[in-house]
């Protein structure tokens, strides 16, 4: 039952994959036309030769002109066949490539639309391989189905038409070969394809083991497990070897040798037929020639189709994975943009009783209310998981909040257009991700700022000195996500990337990692100038940032437990005061790790 269901599922996937060809109808029909012409031209050749043999050679006639003409005709048929054959091959391949391009672009666009929640749960590697490797496997399907199956089926049909036109009875006999080939194919699918898939499974287990062992080799060695890991690898390697051997044997039984067996049987059939005929009638030698020539051509396509069956299976598996991704419902927050979208002018942020949850069960923000007036800086402090980042996620509209209201300049957050929001809220992430391309590209990041503007911004965040020291300055390539730069340098570059857009609102996710004092000072200086004239929401870890804030919100488990300026909070004598006093060394006797 489940197997039948699985088969049905596979069949659905195959149909869905083939439906992608609809967009290529024109090119495809032209390709099929060329294919028919090429096959026709190729298959007329033996008939010409048959004619020569029966009409001239056996009858010992030798009219030079006619024969020359026939020779010319034969050569032109060859050339015509070659040209059309070439054209149709290129056309089919082009079609397949275009289909895959469409599929890839759709998939990429789809993945972009997925919510960050989806990204939180899905490893990067698997998404990448959906878009590239799986579609590559599907490409093989189109190439195979189009090039091998369509072509060969057309060709085989042509052979039968030619055979029937020569001799109906023998044509019928040859038709009886088809069930025999069908039987071999069925068995091939049942045993060879299965054992091939089995072997592939073992291979991917082998590769996974290998990959993991190489990655974790230092651990393996530190824990002295080399011998055990070696043995485990050997076991997997041997399992793969055994599966491979088995597949090779099935192929030996069912692939080429079996098809060639049928080939000799068909020669026997032809010989017996004409032999028996010769007892009563005279036979036309040319017809025998033509039949032998057609039978010769008959079996290569069969071989080709059989050897491709396993590819189809693999492509279907890849197709299932791709469709699972493109059917993913975890799409990004829908915005209820009003037209025209409100404009962020001054940059006032207002949270009114906002509650938010990632999983719909546990609230990570509970009734959060605060206002950041235009130009102010609000510092969020609290432990990991207290809800600091969630506030910035809500404000960035990365996730929807479920109750309360967020307003920018008095307008509801949902009403802003994507464009307005993204160009006016600048986010500086802890982990300053850089892209490949040169330094200028990373600063510009698709905005159409001039080079002068790039330099100006870099000067502004004080990263220009560092850039100018690079061998190629602003055109220095950023290799491997900027891993050659220090984390401070990366951070400054990401500041520049944000500032070039002159956002009205700045969201700053301060890095927790300790960096050296010099870089720290540079970052602080840059932040100071960046904050001028902007509303800033800082997820703060640095004391200097916190002290400079107009409003400090102390968060604990999604609730604001204290709020006020540095001075107010000190005067309050609460948690913040205790922390700060401790910091100042007033309570130096309290040990951090006192039990």
């Amino acid at each position: 039952m489940s197997q039948r269901k699985e088969r049905k599922q596979q069949w659905m996937t195959l149909k869905r994959l083939l439906a992608y060809l609809k967009g290529e109808r024109k090119r495809l029909s032209f390709a099929v036309l060329c294919l028919i012409l090429a096959s026709g031209a190729e298959l007329t050749g033996p008939i010409l030769i048959k004619h020569v043999l029966d009409e001239y050679v056996t009858k010992q006639r030798f009219p030079t002109n006619t024969l020359m003409m026939l020779g010319m005709a034969y050569v032109s048929l060859l050339i015509v066949a070659a040209i059309f054959h070439y054209v149709q091959l290129v056309l089919f391949q082009t079609t397949a490539m275009h289909v895959i391009q469409t599929m890839r672009n759709d998939l990429f666009a789809k993945v972009q639309k997925l919510s960050l929640r989806f990204y939180d749960l899905t490893p990067v590697g698997s998404l990448v391989s959906r878009i590239t490797n799986d579609t590559e496997a599907i490409k093989d399907l189109y190439m195979t189905v189009l090039s091998t199956f369509v072509q060969n089926i057309v060709f085989l049909t042509g052979i039968f038409i030619a055979m029937f036109s020569l001799n109906v009875t023998l044509g019928l006999f040859c038709l009886s070969l088809l069930p025999l080939i069908g039987l071999i194919m069925m068995n091939y699918r049942k045993y060879s394809s299965q054992s091939f898939l089995h072997m592939r499974e073992k291979l991917s287990a082998l590769n996974a083991k290998l990959h993991e062992s190489i990655q974790g080799m230092m651990i393996v060695q530190a824990f002295r497990q080399q011998k055990r890991v070696r043995q485990e690898f050997q076991t997997i390697n041997e399992a793969h070897h055994a599966a491979w051997m088995k597949n090779m044997k099935w192929n030996g039984l069912l692939l080429r040798p079996a098809v060639d067996l049928v080939y000799v049987f068909s020669i026997m059939l032809i010989l017996s037929y004409f032999g028996t005929q010769s007892f009563t009638n005279t036979v036309e030698v040319g017809v025998i020639y033509a039949f032998v020539a057609y039978i010769d051509r008959f079996f290569e396509p069969v071989n080709m189709m059989m050897s491709r069956l396993a590819t189809v299976q693999q492509a279907i598996v890849a197709g299932e994975r791709v469709f699972a991704l493109s059917d993913e419902k975890e799409e990004e927050v829908e915005n209820r943009t009003t037209h025209p979208s409100p404009v962020i002018a001054s940059g006032e942020i207002q949270f009114d009783n906002v509650s938010f949850s990632y999983d719909g069960e546990r609230d990570v923000l509970k009734n959060i209310s605060f206002t950041a007036k235009a130009g102010q800086m609000v510092a969020l402090v609290g432990h990991t998981g207290s809800g600091k980042s969630s506030i910035s996620n809500v404000l960035m509209r990365f996730y929807p909040y479920h109750s309360g209201e967020v307003r920018l300049d008095g307008e509801l957050l949902e009403q802003f257009s994507e464009q307005e929001l993204r160009s006016n809220i600048g986010l500086v992430l802890q982990d300053s991700f850089l892209f490949s391309g040169d330094v200028a590209h990373n600063v510009r990041f698709f905005s159409n700022a001039s080079m002068a503007r790039v330099e100006e911004v870099c000067q502004f965040v004080q990263v220009s000195r560092f850039i100018e020291k690079l061998p190629e300055g602003y055109h220095h390539p950023v290799a491997e996500r900027g891993s050659r730069f220090s984390s401070g340098e990366r951070q400054l570059l990401s500041f520049a990337r944000t500032m070039i857009r002159e956002p009205r609102i700045l969201i700053l996710d301060e890095a927790t990692a300790t960096i050296d004092t010099q870089t720290e000072e540079a970052l602080q200086r840059a932040l100071q100038v960046m904050r001028q004239g902007r509303t800033t929401l800082a997820i703060a870890h640095r004391l200097s940032t916190i002290q400079a804030a107009d409003l400090i919100l102390v968060l604990h488990q999604g609730v604001i437990i204290e709020r006020g300026t540095h001075e107010e909070l000190l005067a309050l004598g609460g948690q913040y005061y205790r922390m700060f006093s401790l910091q100042q060394g007033i309570m130096e006797k309290i040990q951090l790790n006192s039990d």
Binding site: A82, Y86, F108, Q225, M245, V264
Partner: protein
Amino acid sequence: MSVFADLFWYFKSEKKRYIGGIVLLALVSLCLLLPPNIVGRAIDQMKAGTLTKSDLLLYVLLLAIVAVTVYVLRFFWRVLIYGASISLALLLRNRLFTHYTKMSASFYHKRRVGDLMAHATNDLQAIQQTAGDGVLTLVDSIMMGSFTMIAMTTTISWKLTLVSLLPLPFMAWSTSRYGNLLHKRFASAQAAFSSMNDKVQESIAGVRVIKAFGEEKHDRDAFQALSKQVVKQNIEVAKVDALFDPTISLIIGLSYLLSVSYGSYLVIGEQLSIGQLIAFTTYLGLLIWPMLAFGWLFNIVERGKASYERVTALLKEEACIQEEAHACEKVPLGEISLALSTFTYDGANSPALRDVYLTIEQGMTIGIVGPTGSGKSTLCKLLLREMDCEEGSIVIDDVSIRNYRVDTLRQAIGYVPQDHFLFSLSIFENIAFGKPDASFKEVKRAAQAAAIYEEICQLSDGFQTLVGERGVTLSGGQKQRLSIARALLLQSTILLLDDALSAVDAKTEEAILSVLKKERQQQTTLITAHRLSSVAHADCIIVLDEGRMVQKGTHEELIASQGWYQETYRRQALEQLLEKGGSS
């Protein structure tokens, strides 16, 4: 072709399979010469009207025998030759893997995981093909080709053979030309594919930035441009690839034309019978495969040679860490004395460590702190002998670590690395990684000590839960604690925690540290950290800066004196308390 000489050691060790396979191949080639001959004779007899029933029966019977014999022989040569080549892949892959397990850290620093994978997959595949398809095409094309030509010249006509083979060299020439062209274009198509792959990788890893800037459209455009490039390059490949079939059919067609026209001339001149002519065209069909195979052979052999050279070069590489001949096998107890004057990584400009002198008594807890890149991890790696320090020595229990067997040394050390790597095994197997026969009690104890036990119990499959892509996704803190449990289980005399508490929260850190304090009173513990709270309880703390030991003392001493430690302590104190939610 020299790759066959390189692989000769294997052919020799598998000579039964190879010789057997080649003999069977020769028999197959001989058998295949029969059907055209039979068909030719039968046609001549039919035409002359002399074919009798018993003749026909004999011919059909002969064909049936040939068919079955060939089928059986073909199956067996495959088993022999392909079987031998598949076993070669097995052998080499095991050899390579064993070699990998013996290589030291510097080997892995120099190479990317992807390349090491490629050697064990693509390169081995190319070598296997050489030992399988390569041998087959070489032997078969020579035998099949020569046997067929002999049959054509001796049983039919040498003149006709010569004439009909005229176009064939052109086929070998053009296919090898296409092959070269294809190879080049294929490389650019591969390059286009891999830059598209890189782009996707980048876009997905940087999705937060792209979304924050609202630049999805531009990013999509950049991707589409690359995906278009992939199509373009692949169509370029297709344009060459599609040349093969038509060219081959054209040349074979010409060959048929020549044989039929010249053959007909000979038939009319009664130098040849019509049956022989038909047999001849069938022989011609048999020659196509050897011609194609020969062109193919060069490809296989070329790839095989390059791959074999790469793999041999890799296997020749020796591990940097060598053991002394009579190395000490007594597991040390844990008195460590470091005297490192300088240590510099290969290719680095400045030393990673210099003038580090320190004696650690058994049972002491040492804290090692300092900014990123100050040499903390390097110290751990030297202690583990992932690499050797040429200018300086590390002595444990009065024996230099170079005089221990590597295995013995590592037996003494429980190690928690900075990057908490876990294997895709169950949680139980991960914790028991260093001691696969550990009891459940031991594993549970280690998990408890690492403050991860309760969280494991909450998972649906408890300790049997799988880790990694096929299993649960663990947080950084959870992974880190599992990797601590893995080291604690060994109860080793020396424990190395390399920034191993960075992703756990302050409370958990405290819990883990208090267990360590209680249980490891008699054993040596080294803790490197960014967060000073991880080392505050240590008997001695050293501060590293650019590889030098700049401060040394207890927590109390260090916060009382001006310097990096005090400065950092002040900055972290507030952050630390904030983390605890202010509940001091």
